[in-house]
């Protein structure tokens, strides 16, 4: 009995601390097996640098918390960080990431998408090397829509006309979580508004444009969007859209791969997000990259891996097998260029998580009842200003 217990305890490996001297990295669930394939390729080329991939939970904020907990507990952390755009500033400010600026070649600097490079930087130094990019976009049913909408009014009108008892007009992600921030920003930018200026730390949430943006979103609920939209995340909206139960869908590029194997496969196309007549489209920039942990004792080996996995050939594989858009200019597929060009960064500030939570809470509160849009945004602006250290 004791032996069984001992064997069981020994078989539980702590993430990061492993006997064979492998470099460790916490990743998303590797559903397609692509990451395992790429790692195997790296290990074949570098037999002296084994990589241990820990598959974490699918929710990105859960992985963010796992990384934070592992860094806070001191040593035995991860060597390589698989890093979302919005973590970079926080992790770099905490001193957990190694400055990689001088390791990038001029050629790489020119090839990576400028927004992705900037999103991986903190105070002018590069900490995160981009692997693939993400941007919000508008999918539509081309069998129903004659000419795709350009403005918010077009979207609303077409959605009203084309929806019926079995089909909603417009799907978006309205649950109180990071996704709501990304959706709201696209609408806000489309109305010509702004959230936070990362450099001056000015907050613009109580502007007229912001109120218009929130009022637009609120008006969709129950008219062109289902009442439950305020509980939906990406997958809820994708499954409904794929089942043919919506005309328009705001989502990320990953849907494009999946929708082409669904019942509506030949009936879908996409355009950049709609905007106000005088303004232009905007997409919230997402994307993932790799960073080297400050606590790693094998920086050179870790860098070798980061350089490998963000290489041209590897990005092609990620696109082919997972539908992930390469973050190198030379590789972005032509149909996605108009979307990626519109992509804008969320503010790269260490307080990002808290600022986003303030925004989500007040936007969600206004969408699901009280207070009104203007009041909610005023409160959100006040709280954000207090957070960023210039209370008015």
């Amino acid at each position: 009995m004791l032996w069984i217990a001992a064997a069981f305890i020994l078989s539980l490996r702590m993430p990061g601390a492993n006997p064979e001297g492998a470099l460790s990295v916490l990743m998303e669930p590797d559903g397609t097996g692509t990451w395992r394939m790429l790692i195997a390729q790296f290990e074949k080329e570098n037999p002296d640098i084994p990589i241990q991939m820990v598959e974490g939970p699918p929710a990105t904020n859960a992985r963010e918390d796992l990384y934070a907990a592992s860094f806070l507990s001191g040593k035995a952390g991860f060597d390589i960080v698989y890093c979302d755009v919005v973590w970079t500033a926080k992790f770099a400010a905490a001193g957990w990431l190694r400055d990689l600026t001088d390791r990038l070649s001029r050629q790489d600097l020119n090839d990576f998408l400028p927004q992705e490079l900037e999103a991986g930087s903190y105070k002018g130094r590069v900490y995160r090397i981009p692997a693939f990019t993400d941007a919000g976009m508008l999918y539509y049913r081309k069998d129903l829509v004659e000419s795709p909408p350009v403005t918010f009014d077009d979207l609303e009108r077409q959605a009203r006309q084309l929806q019926n008892g079995n089909r909603w007009g417009f799907l978006w992600q309205g649950k109180q979580y990071e996704g709501l921030t990304t959706v709201f920003l696209e609408i806000l930018w489309g109305f010509g508004g702004e959230w936070i200026d990362a450099k001056t730390k000015q907050v613009y949430l109580d502007s007229r444009e912001a109120v218009k943006a929130l009022e637009f979103l609120k008006k969709t609920i129950g008219t062109i969007s289902p009442p439950a939209v305020t509980s939906y995340i990406e997958e809820d909206t994708r499954t409904l859209f794929q089942a043919g139960r919506a005309v328009f869908l705001r989502n990320w590029p990953y849907v494009w791969t999946l929708v082409r194997e669904s019942p509506v496969k030949d009936k879908v196309a996409f355009v950049p997000m709609v905007h106000a007549p005088e303004e232009s489209s905007a997409a919230t920039l997402g994307g993932w990259g790799f960073a080297v942990s400050e606590t790693s004792s094998r920086v050179e080996d870790a860098w070798k891996f980061v350089k490998f996995i963000t290489g041209t050939e590897q990005m092609k594989v990620m696109y082919e097998r997972m539908g992930r858009i390469p973050s190198r200019r030379s590789l972005v597929p032509a149909e996605f260029v108009p979307i990626i060009e519109k992509a804008r960064m969320r503010p790269a500030i260490p307080e990002y998580a808290q600022a986003s939570d303030i925004l989500q809470r007040w936007v969600s509160a206004a969408l699901t009842g009280r207070p009104g849009c203007e009041e909610a945004l005023k409160k959100a602006a006040e709280e954000t200003r207090a957070l960023l250290g210039h209370a008015k």
């Binding site: 918390d65 109180q176 439950a228 305020t230 009842g369």
Partner: protein
């Protein structure tokens, strides 16, 4: 000489407490002390995790933090409604099971199943039950003609809170049930027989025999449930994440965000300490209300 022997014996006795004492110190005393110390410091991203003495400023910030009051309010609503329902349901079913002779044991085991499942998994299960399109809850209510159109349970603050409470009641009432069943079984049968001879009704039996004997069991069940419900985390985290509009965010979810997402350890510790203080107060109040007059064996 005798005195010296006494000391040795005392030391020997103390030695037996040592292993448990060390364990208790490590898992209980140390974390509490550390939290206490942290609550008087600024340890956060801004200070580069270097401790800076903060005096009472963390507690001062708490007083003016509207999010703290909101999460407190959500927690109190959750605790009072869910524990009350669990108590009523647990007591009613415990009394009912006592009436069944042989099948009682079977149903008792069956009813205990939800209690044995991990909460995070239950939360995912209920998330599907409450799904507006494919959920079992809407399907059932539609068939029974209780509602006319599917309800978006998790999309509105009030119904989301109701959903969380329902999931918690389903999971936790078996605990109350099993404690009370044990209490009922410990009551001497003769007391009921005596009352029957005197012509007592079922209500008399319940009021003058069952209830007084059950008091300590009720106290244990309710106080355990209150403490656990106050710390509710996984159900809320999985079902709503605190939304919509932050209106289902409980104090433990808020302190989790403060610690791990905002990495503000000083303020997070102050939050946790206030929660602990409040629990101690509630425990003491319940103890004096329910058990002060109860002295077994009298």
């Amino acid at each position: 000489m005798r005195k010296a022997r006494g000391i040795v014996r005392n030391l020997q006795q103390a030695g037996w407490y040592l292993p448990a004492g060390i364990l208790l110190f490590l898992v209980f005393v140390y974390p509490v002390l550390r939290t206490l110390v942290l609550s008087f410091l600024h340890v956060n991203l801004e200070s580069g995790f270097q401790p800076v003495f903060a005096g009472l400023s963390n507690f001062g910030r708490l007083v003016s933090d509207t999010r703290f009051y909101r999460s407190m309010q959500a927690t109190l609503v959750f605790v009072s409604v869910s524990v009350l329902l669990e108590f009523v349901l647990g007591l009613a079913l415990a009394l009912a099971l006592e009436q069944l002779k042989r099948s009682g044991r079977f149903f008792r085991t069956l009813l205990l199943i939800p209690w044995t499942l991990p909460t995070a998994i239950i939360a995912i299960l209920w998330m599907w039950f409450f799904n507006d399109q494919y959920g079992a809850v809407n399907d059932l209510l539609l068939r029974l003609n209780v509602i006319e159109a599917p309800v978006a349970w998790l999309a509105q603050p009030r119904s989301a809170m109701a959903a969380i409470i329902l999931a918690d009641v389903w999971k936790a009432f078996p605990f109350v049930l099993i404690v009370l069943v044990a209490g009922i079984q410990a009551i001497p049968r003769e007391m009921y027989e005596a009352l029957e001879i005197d012509g007592g009704t079922y209500w008399h039996k319940f009021r003058y025999v069952t209830l007084p004997h059950l008091l300590p069991f009720i106290f244990v069940a309710v106080i355990f449930r209150i403490i656990q419900a106050f710390a509710v985390f996984d159900l809320v985290f999985v079902l709503t994440g605190g939304g919509p509009g932050g209106k289902t965010e409980t104090i433990s979810v808020y302190s989790y965000y403060t610690f791990l997402r905002y990495m503000d350890f000083g303020y997070g510790s102050a939050l946790v300490l206030v929660l602990a203080g409040l629990l101690a107060l509630i425990g003491w109040t319940l103890y004096t209300l329910l058990l002060r007059h109860y002295e077994p064996g009298r």
